[in-house]
Amino acid sequence: MTDLIQSHNEGAATQSGGANVSRRNKSNFRKVLFDYSGLIPFFIFSVIFIGLPTLSVVYLAFIGNSGEVTLANIRVALQAEYLTSLTGSLKLGFFSALTGAITGLAISYAVAISGKKKIQRVVSTASGVFANTGGVPLAFFFIAAVGNYGLVTVNLQKIGIDIYSGSFTLFGFSGLILVYLYFQIPLMVIVTYPAIEGIRNEWREAAINLGATKSMYWKYIGIPLLVPAVSGAFLLLFANAFAAYATANVLTSGTLPLLPVQIGSLVNGNVIADQSNVGMAMGLEMIIVVAIAMTGYTVLDRKTSKWRKSS
């Protein structure tokens, strides 16, 4: 029981007088040490399996072919085909986030105002499942649907519509945008639904009662309230699409310039680069982009919960 009593006396001055201050500090320090000791396994695990790999990439990004410290890797990573991959991934991230955000927001809003508990529960569970359905199986579902011999492709051809006649192809940029929607939309719904649901009817009624029109309500109240949540979600979707590997790999496997896929090819030795650590520099690029997006998301998410906590 002594440890229990000790923790309750935390910080309590048991004796006054300078002579005992140092003793108190020492026991406080020992107590703090003990408190953290339970987390040691976790910290060790994290250092080995998160810290080491990440730091190795960051470190090697600045190491040249002969082991010297250099910016050469980074310079190469920002040129030619490597730059194309970076911009390709940024483009994919942006448009996937845009399409996912718009559709996801519409679905979120529709579900929120439907008021039907059943629909809300189904959507909630489904979002959880589909947000995690990604990678390899997803690619094959879409191959089965809109691939060259996919069911949708074939059946539309029967009524005279050829989805491949235009610039669409499942195995390129447009295809990825389409496939990514499958997990971007649920993610958008998961993130924005609470914010939409949190908008109280009283606010709308109060605005109308005070003389506002519907569009005034949206302009002054509704949209300002949702902007942080929606922009935060956009950044989250962007990071998600930017870093995605599996689906892109299965569907495009190198035919589309994408950063993660290119790093993969360098690792597999499919492509030999002049600078042996260009891959590391590209890895560093990815970390930076995703970190910026995720920080933005966290900041905006915190802004949203500020007003939601009050009501």
Binding site: W203, A206, A207, L210, A212, Y220, W307
Partner: protein, 356 residues
């Protein structure tokens, strides 16, 4: 602030009916609010009081009936064109706007320019005593403060009618009493016709010029508070407002036989099994040693300050009744004392036994 030029509006609710499926929330309500009057609609949840308020505000549409303000038929006028200010039960301040921005909102959507509307908003915050909170957000304010801002916001547009939807129900008891005096003070100063909805009879009685008691979509009685209390017209009103004893009684050709006395029947049920409704302060208590229909035994006493409430068990029917009397007269009426009971009311209402 220029208040003298603002006359209140005349409000007439005429035969309002509102149904939800097979539930009739409002069954032909007729109510007139005189200019500058504060009328409280009082009743249990589901009685239709909030429905009536929302129909007046335009936040809901009546199935039948009319809403007329200053002679104008507003029944089909949308809510945002009715020029009324509403204070909701809670959480109605716009969370992304500061207090002063909230108050100025109604003026903003009316196109009033920034300096003018901010000035007005500040004046109103001053009126409700919150000028120091002007730049705070709702999540930084207490419930009572939020409601005061909501009141200022509703008044900023100089509405024809002020609507209050149980504005105090979500607040602590102490804040509630403080705020209800505030609201009444402000309302009297500004002179706006006001409809106040609540389920708390003490609130309604303390604040209103007239109290309308509602039940099941109907207005049972509307009168000044003292008349509602002293002369309830139905058993429902009598039991809903103030404390009421329910004592077994027998009805016999216009006279109610209760506690061994015969009292004029004031109205109410004539079912086979009856109770008489008697106020705690309408029973006289004296120490005695009789054991008949007119007496009982003191079970408990609660000292409430100026008054003491005694719980007495009647000998006649073993009913527990409450009697209120000045504390100075209750000093030796301790638990176990045998007492005689005399009803001092001139008339009593009856109700069917078995309710509550």
């Amino acid at each position: 602030m220029n208040t003298s030029s603002k006359r209140g509006s005349l409000v007439e609710l005429s035969n309002l009916v509102r149904r939800f499926g097979d539930v009739t929330a409002l069954d032909g309500l007729n109510l007139t609010l005189q200019p500058g009057e504060l009328v409280a609609l009082l009743g249990p949840s589901g009685c239709g009081k909030t429905t009536a308020l929302r129909l007046l505000a335009g936040l809901d549409l009546a199935d039948e009936g009319q809403v007329i303000v200053d002679g104008q038929d507003l029944t089909n006028v949308p809510a945002n064109k009715r020029d009324m200010g509403m204070v909701f039960q809670a959480y109605s301040l716009f969370p992304n706007l500061t207090a002063v921005e909230n108050v100025a909102f109604g003026l903003k959507v009316r196109g009033v320019d920034e300096t003018k509307r901010n000035k007005k908003a500040q004046e109103l915050l001053e009126l409700v005593g919150l000028s120091k909170q002007a730049n705070r957000y709702s999540h930084q304010m207490s419930g009572g403060q939020q409601q005061r801002v909501a009141l200022a916001r509703a008044l900023a547009i100089e509405p024809k009618v002020l609507l209050l939807d149980e504005p105090l129900s979500a607040l602590d008891a102490k804040v509630r009493t403080q705020l209800r005096d505030e609201i009444r003070r402000v309302q009297l100063e500004v002179g706006t016709t006001t409809l106040f909805v609540t389920h708390d009879q003490e609130e309604a009685m303390a604040m209103a010029d007239r109290v309308g008691v509602m039940s099941n979509g109907k207005l049972e009685q509307i009168d000044a508070p003292d008349k509602i209390y002293a002369n309830p017209s139905t058993a429902f009103v009598a039991t809903f407002v103030g404390a009421m004893n329910r004592i077994p009684a027998i009805l016999n050709s216009g006279k109610v036989s209760v506690l061994g006395q015969s009292i004029t029947h004031g109205g109410g049920s004539n079912a086979s099994s009856l109770v008489a409704l008697v106020r705690p302060e309408s029973i006289e208590v004296k120490i005695s040693n009789t054991n008949d229909a007119k007496s009982g035994v003191v079970l408990a006493r609660s000292f409430l300050g100026p008054q003491t409430r005694l719980t007495i068990k009647t000998h006649e029917s073993n009913t527990h009744i409450h009697v209120d009397l000045p504390s100075s007269e209750a000093l030796d009426l301790i638990s176990g004392t045998n007492v005689s009971l005399k009803i001092t009311a001139a008339t009593v209402l009856t109700d069917a036994d078995g309710k509550n």
